[in-house]
Amino acid sequence: MKYSSLKKIRLSFAIAFFIIVCVLFLDFRHLVPESFFEIFLWLQFVPSVIKHIGAGEAAALGFIAILILTFLSGRSYCSFLCPLGIMQDIISRAGGKIKKRFGRFGFKKPHTFLRYAILVLTVIITLTGGVYILGLLDPYGIFGRFMTYFVRPVVIIVNNFLASILGHFDIYTLVDTRKPSFKAAVYVIPAIFLLLTGIMSLMKGRLYCNTVCPVGTFLGLISKVSLFRIRIDNVKCSKCGRCAIACKSSCIDFLNMEIDNSRCVDCFNCIGTCPDNAISFGFSSPAKPRESVVQVDEKKRHFVIGSLLMFFGLSQRTLAQERNGPVPKKESTVKENKTSPVSPPGSTSIKNFTSKCTACSLCVSACPNNVLIPSFTEYGIAGIMQPHMDYHKGFCAYECTRCLEICPTGALLPLLPEAKKLTQIGRAVFIKENCIVQTERTACGACAESCPTKAVHMVPFTGNLTIPSTTDDICIGCGHCEFACPVTPYKAIFVNGNPVHAAAKKPENIKTELKHEDFPF
């Protein structure tokens, strides 16, 4: 086998995979069938781990496959399957075109302390506090947030522009689509990571992956003992150093003929650049770890201990907040007394949801009704970016189960449509004092007409007027009533979340007896 073809294989696979993942996030017309999502995302490492541990699902074994793959061939995941990694390769390539020196890497010492510190912290915090740091650093999640919050809106704007032009010619193949709007705070975290990964990859190739990314570091540990790896034939090698310059991971120490396999991402760029054909990819027994003298730095130790304490404290604070429920955000004359946010159907409880969601935002992208909105403080500050149901922005369509069918982490578990229709994620609360029928003495009923179960219905008021009333046990908390309520800025009906989802009763209904033998007029 020609080793130089490895790079071509890597490139074609990565580009194809990257495009597919982009399409999953950018499919604003919701044309991709739900079943496709799992096919392409089951190998994403962090979501798969969470799904497996959380749900105990035998099916969610994607991460095991990745572990085996890494043991066999090193960090192929990072070059072939990690969308953030592929994105950084693209940026890095662009960087090399902009400035020659951005495309010339050369050997660098690893930031050993930093990368392992981040890995250890992430693991400890995840085990003790929750998934929020893991979610923050999960490369797939980071990429998902870029797509959802930066790329998707641009795609929709371009689509709408083209749709409006075509619309003038009576062509409706492109359809104007509502662009979701989020709080400015929502963009902070994705923006920070965009800058971080963008700048690092533009100038330094895979520096982010080999310094910050906990998945990269973790897989790097395994790839230290992987079976197949890049080798340099020291007989053929003329020590020209081209390979080191081509190495995005800066992990080829050509002078000492050593490759830091924990940083190598199997991009195979080095193979093609070698004029001596001295580099190959093949079976080799794990190299003995180099003995190195670690200099003890007291400051670093303090830093680690301090960070540990801080994150541990933060995690405890989060737990406390979750127990008490977030504080209502808005003050109004008649308060929407929301004691709990609404977590999406299939999440079974807020606690379960917040402990498994990495905020990859795939559901935010996939929701046809734009009801899933990244939270700011709704779930407590540690739940930032985890989506909640915002019924001022949309409502949960009665028949729709899209988000729970595609969730890659199992934070949302699939429900059959019939089961979803009987899952009470919250309950409608009517505020009579805000209602138009009460204040204006005119008919409205927008809430009741929207209610799919008639948990919100109209009862006689004065004259021909009717006023809303609610039946708790058949309400499923879909929020259509809250969305439809025309009262501004605060609604006359709102859904208070169920911290633990409950079962709703099936609405009872009697067969109508209306019949005409002849015209009644």
């Binding site: 017309r29 919701h30 709408n160 749709a163 409006s164 619309g167 009576d170 409706y172 359809v175 104007d176 689509t177 509502r178 046809p368 009704n369 369509a397 009665y398 028949e399 729709c400 138009i436 204006e440 005119t442 008919a443 409205c444 009923g445 927008a446 009741a448 007409e449 929207s450 209610c451 799919p452 179960t453 008639k454 219905h457 109209m458 021909n464 009717t466 439809a484 025309p486 009262v487 609405p507 209904n509 009697i510 067969k511 109508t512 007896e513 209306l514 019949k515 005409h516 002849d518 015209f519 009644p520 007029f521």
Partner: protein, 306 residues
Amino acid sequence: MKRRDFIRKSTGAGIAAGAAISFGGYDRLWGKQPPATPYDMVAVMGGSPEAMFDLGIQELGGIGAFVKKGQKVLVKPNIGWDRTPEFAATTNPGLVKRIVEHCLKAGAKEVYVFDHTIDNWTNCYKNSGIEKAAKDGGAKVVPGNSESYYQEISIPEAKILKKAKIHQLLLDTDVFINVPILKNHDSTNMTCCLKNMMGVVWDRGYWHRNNLHQCIADYALFNKKPALNVIDCYNVMTKNGPQGVSKEDVANLASQIITTDWVAGDAAAAKMLKLEPSAVDYIKIAHNLGIGNMNLDTLNIRRIKM
């Protein structure tokens, strides 16, 4: 034109227009009045929606009496909800298809179908069966989900709804055919012809906030009126409307009402639900505004049982 002439002429025109408006019922005299037909209304009972329409429209002189060769037609059904046809929350797809076919047969240049849905529009169009039926019939199915498709119009005679943003198709087409489905409505008692127009405006919330009944009647003053109202009473949601909870809400009345007078149409439809027309506030208001006639006794109605 000299400035003096312009002022003189425009003053004259202004006086004439003002006088015409002050007479009331101005639109009925001068607006696009449907051609004279032997009947004010045709009611059919006992057939399929398609067969009832074939028969009913024939009694009114065929669709050719309303649609001329080369005209663009808008057929506006109720596609508001993401429900399948048997829930009777949306207009019967077979009826929509048949109307489209009639229009095209009469030489219509293009027939458009749209609704500003309440549920997700793609699901509504698909699950109601109307998108497919209309396309099969030869119509162009157009989205109504974005504000960019809507243009502002004014209704000076209106009491409250003086301005509204309506779908451009209503302005761009020559003939407008209103195809509501009769349903119970737990706030306004019923929804039919007049209320179906909530699906051509962008901001329905405004209607709900500002005296719903008055707004429904006000909109009917706008000068683009339906040439024809075809009321689907085949399957009728008799309670839990306008969305319905289950098929238990639906009665098979196997009827259809075709009329040029949408107030009369709503009055007859109310009777189908065993409601007095006067129990529906917007019918009364519209009647008093001279938009139509709710007194069915005074109308020439052709009743057919198949």
